[in-house]
Structures are given as structure tokens and as C-alpha cells.
């Protein structure tokens, strides 16, 4: 199980353009739907805990690993999610710098943008729709926090707190 987790997250690491939000749907699909290691409700709760702690949101992968296989799972999942991408970053940074004037750099950058938007959008949608069963209450909370984020400059922690309050009242 640890090996499976490491291999799969390692693979995801390499395609995680746009960071964690992009791969959240795939993580959920794999650990909840394909492997059935944890439930969809557990998944959103782990995600919430990850959001409420400091640090890069890649830590969610560690939490999922923890839920699946304890402390070893947490370390393996986090390392698998970071290491391959880190190695790529390590090598590509220089190449990218040298390609500064190459037209391909612009082409690739423009190609990446709409893909990242589509994937991040999917991340939000999948999280707000556990088990593929739309729950209007979760959607109300999600859309309220989207609106607050776009219209104010509040620290996201306040928005998460607001979501907690609404959750306590509605759910």
C-alpha cells in the first residue's frame, strides 16, 4: 500500500501543473473511488485540516497519507508528491532561464494557462461535491467564500473561519 501510494503520488507530482488544486480531483478519485482507502467525507475533512494549518497546501497529501497508512504514510505521500517535481524544478530552472528569448517559452506559457484554470476549477468543484452528490449547503458555503475572496482582501483564514461557522449552522 505504501509503495502504491508512493508510485501514484510520485506520478501525480510530475503532472501537477498549477500546484495542488489541480491534482486534488485526481487524488480524490484515486484514494476514494478507485482504492476506497478513505471515504469522500474523510477526504474533505483532511483537506479542511490542511487548509487550517500553515504551510504549502501540498501538506494535504501528507494528511491523506496519514489517514491511509499512519505516520509512515504521511512521510511517504509528502515525499512522493514533492520529490519528483523538485527534481524537475532543480534541472529545468536553468534551462528555462536560458530560453528566456525563445518563442517556445511564450507558446508553452500561454498553453499552460487555460489548462491550469480548468484543473483548479475542477479541484473546487470536486471538493464541494463529495460522492458526486451535489449538496446545496456545501455549494452555498463554497460560493460565499468565492465571492468574499474576489470582493475583499481578507486573509483567507477569515474566509475558512466563516465557512466553519456556516458549516456549524447549516450542516
Amino acid at each position: 500500500m505504501l509503495l502504491e501510494l508512493a508510485l501514484y503520488f510520485g506520478l501525480l507530482s510530475l503532472i501537477s501543473v498549477g500546484g495542488m488544486p489541480s491534482v486534488i480531483p485526481e487524488m480524490q478519485r484515486y484514494v476514494v473511488e478507485v482504492k476506497e482507502w478513505i471515504s469522500a467525507a474523510d477526504f474533505i475533512q483532511m483537506f479542511a485540516v490542511g487548509q487550517a494549518a500553515p504551510g504549502p497546501n501540498v501538506l494535504i497529501s501528507g494528511l491523506i497519507g496519514w489517514k491511509v497508512a499512519g505516520l509512515a504514510g504521511a512521510c511517504v505521500a509528502l515525499a512522493a508528491m514533492c520529490l519528483p517535481a523538485g527534481v524537475v524544478a532543480y534541472w529545468v530552472a536553468d534551462v528555462w532561464e536560458r530560453m528566456k528569448d525563445s518563442p517556445w517559452r511564450k507558446v508553452a506559457q500561454r498553453a499552460m494557462a487555460p489548462m491550469v484554470v480548468g484543473l483548479v476549477l475542477s479541484g473546487g468543484f470536486v471538493l464541494a461535491t463529495p460522492n458526486n452528490q451535489p449538496d446545496w449547503r456545501l455549494w452555498v458555503i463554497a460560493i460565499a467564500s468565492t465571492a468574499a475572496m474576489l470582493s475583499t482582501k481578507l486573509n483567507p483564514l477569515w474566509l475558512l473561519g466563516g465557512g466553519g461557522v456556516l458549516g456549524g449552522l447549516l450542516l
Binding site: Q45, G124, G163
Partner: protein, 182 residues
């Protein structure tokens, strides 16, 4: 303005710098990374910071994690990459596991559970907001809409594996981009 930027002098400084970023970064790491590296410790200039982060957003993996790898390498080679990254995640990793362990003791209480799920839903909303922000510059490009909706339908609705969607979408987007449609 402040041209007097100087890289960290040793690995220890690099580690403590990233440690303080990680430890304080509630609600988002980037603003803290900027504050510590550009304003407090003056390791790099604001322009340099923005360019480096821009590159890291393009690469796969966590943006800020990549930033620590790239900057660590620039200053101290592979050791710098490892030290920078470990400094960044050390405190949050302990935090998040502690929080999860604490939470699992209370997860059976319906109210606590409802609150936490509410937090999760709000977090999902932040993703939607991020997508909207990133998507605004693309609004006038029909080809971009095709890629966005294609990805969304495949991943969120069709639940197709990302391992398939990313290569296909990237090839398509690259072609559109080459023809000047994006």
C-alpha cells in the same frame, strides 16, 4: 530602491529563513515568502522574486516548494535545495499532523464535524476564486474557453484520470497556442 540585497551566508541562515516562512504562513505561503526573503532578510530583489515564482508556477509541483528548491540551488547547490525545502515544510508538517490527530479525537461529534466540513467547503470556494482570478485574462479568447471547459468536463464531471487529461490537454493547448489562438 533597495539594491543592497545579499543571499544568505550559510545553510543555517537559509534553513532558519525558510523555517520562519513555513511557521508563520497561515492562510497562504506566498505573501510570507515575499515578506521574509524580500523585505526582512533581503535575500533577493522584488523583481527577482516575482520572476522566480513565475517560473515555479509553470513547473509541476507546489509553487513555493519549487521556489525553495530553485533558490536553494542558486545559492548553495543541491544541499541548498534540500535544506531550503526541509526548512519550509518542517513546522507545517508537524502542525498539520498534530491538528489531524487532535481532530480525529473529536471527529465523531456532529457539530465539530459540520464545522470542519464547512471549512473544507470554504476552501473549495477559494479554489473556485483562484480559477476565476487566473481565468480573467483569458476571458476574450474562445480557444481558451474550449481548453478550460474541456479540462473541467473531463476531470470534474467525467472523472477521467488526470494522467490522461494533462498530456492530451497540453498537446491541444500547445497546438492552439502555436497557431496564435491563446
Amino acid at each position: 530602491m533597495n539594491n543592497d540585497v545579499a543571499p544568505p551566508r550559510n545553510l543555517r541562515e537559509l534553513f532558519t529563513g525558510f523555517l520562519s516562512i513555513g511557521a508563520r504562513s497561515f492562510g497562504g505561503v506566498m505573501p510570507w515568502a515575499y515578506r521574509v526573503m524580500v523585505e526582512e532578510r533581503r535575500w533577493i530583489s522584488a523583481t527577482d522574486f516575482t520572476e522566480t515564482v513565475g517560473l515555479c508556477q509553470f513547473l509541476p509541483g507546489p509553487n513555493i516548494g519549487n521556489t525553495s528548491v530553485v533558490l536553494g540551488k542558486r545559492w548553495f547547490g543541491w544541499r541548498g535545495s534540500i535544506v531550503g525545502f526541509c526548512g519550509l515544510v518542517a513546522v507545517p508538517f508537524v502542525w498539520v499532523l498534530g491538528l489531524a490527530a487532535f481532530y480525529s479525537d473529536y471527529a465523531s461529534i456532529p457539530l465539530v464535524r459540520a464545522i470542519v466540513i464547512g471549512v473544507g467547503a470554504a476552501g473549495a470556494g477559494l479554489f473556485l476564486g483562484t480559477a476565476i482570478k487566473l481565468g480573467r485574462p483569458l476571458a476574450r479568447k474562445p480557444a481558451a474557453w474550449v481548453v478550460v471547459m474541456g479540462c473541467f468536463l473531463a476531470v470534474a464531471v467525467g472523472r477521467v484520470s488526470l494522467l490522461l487529461v494533462v498530456p492530451v490537454a497540453f498537446a491541444l493547448a500547445l497546438a492552439l497556442s502555436k497557431w496564435g489562438k491563446l
